[in-house]
Amino acid sequence: MRPIFGWALILLTACALGGAFFVAAGEMRAYPPAEPANPLKFLMQGEDFLIPTLRAQQADDFDNPAFPLVEAGEAAWTRPETGAAKACQDCHGAGGRNAVKQAVASYPKYAPDVRGVISLETRINLCRKNHLGLDPLPGDDPRIIAMTAYLRWLARGSPSTVSVTGPNAEVFERGSRLFQTKLGRFQISCAQCHNEKFGQKYGADTISQGHPLAYPAFKSSEGRVITLHERFRMCNRLARAEGLPDDAPDYVALELYLGWRSKNLPITAPGVRP
């Protein structure tokens, strides 16, 4: 055979292989599309940006360091806390009920009893105060993180169902504006990183799309489980801005906006993060 045919053959094979790879790569993974008004065109879970060891750790309930908290939360659901006459179960029934799962996925939501949009943590504290006769807990108390972790774990697999209309509309707008607001000495907004730079490296970590679905999550660098609002504070510190306390109105608004922004993706709490 003449050498020229050999070359032609090699070229053709390369083209065919390249084409096949191109097609395969495109079909390997289809990310769910976002809502039309969402600045993201497609949605990627936080887990997509993790190194494989952390992803595996989160996927295995026996290996996931956040799991003891889920179990503690489950125990607290069924057994009355010292000083209380009853437990959550006595009003709400078994935690695994569909109604409980659906309610969890709908927070932050408007609560007519306090005339405001509240987070799941605030709801737990209201229950403690009004129905169990217990003191409300600060956001970093292991008991409230445990209960949140348990409830969010129950809602695993279902997407966030936050409402952004009616009494929630104003808070949603506020969250949406906050996401675009440049803050801190670095003057960086959430959107600049999580809308435009996801997938790129910031130090050792890969910037994610910033979905709230895995929280409360085990933060490896801290060696403990952190809440979503603590994650907000960490982000604030990265922009060299002042963080806000747990359940600050701005953080609840941001949580509501992020819930809407992540729609179509499932809740994966409790997660594992670097």
Binding site: F5, L11, R185, F186, Q192, E196, Y202
Partner: protein
Amino acid sequence: MARLHTCASLLIWTCLGAAVLSFASSLAWSAECKRKTAGFYLLETAAGASHRLSLSLQGITASLTGALGDPERGRELLINRQKGDCLSCHKLGMLATIADQGGVGPALDGIAQRYSEAQLRQILVEPKAYFPDTIMPTYYKVEEGGEAPILTAAELEDLVAYLKTLK
């Protein structure tokens, strides 16, 4: 046999031509992207911003302190996570021993070949003059009664002095 030969060479030349064409168009595209992200873009979009434009193209020639910076101190500032913290976003192959280098911005290797000293100073003081949409912070913004800038004038000069060595 001769016809086959002609067909094959035709095919190869077509392939080569297509490759050259696509390579040229990708070059043109990347040049267009560079033009858009660099300050030259301001020429067409912001007609009224002539002062800003000339500043952005010329850079800041004069040292902020009037003196030369110390490249050794500049290197420390570049690494220090509480100071410049440059490596959270930029790679610098020369300092490969420093772990966890980021990839948000372009690599800093050879940066002194791409920008003049005045332009490096401008980028550190206010990168948005060249790159309006950049996420890179403004390292030296002095406001009446405002917060202190991220780096002092002396620190910024040290950093410029270090970046100048990255040829």
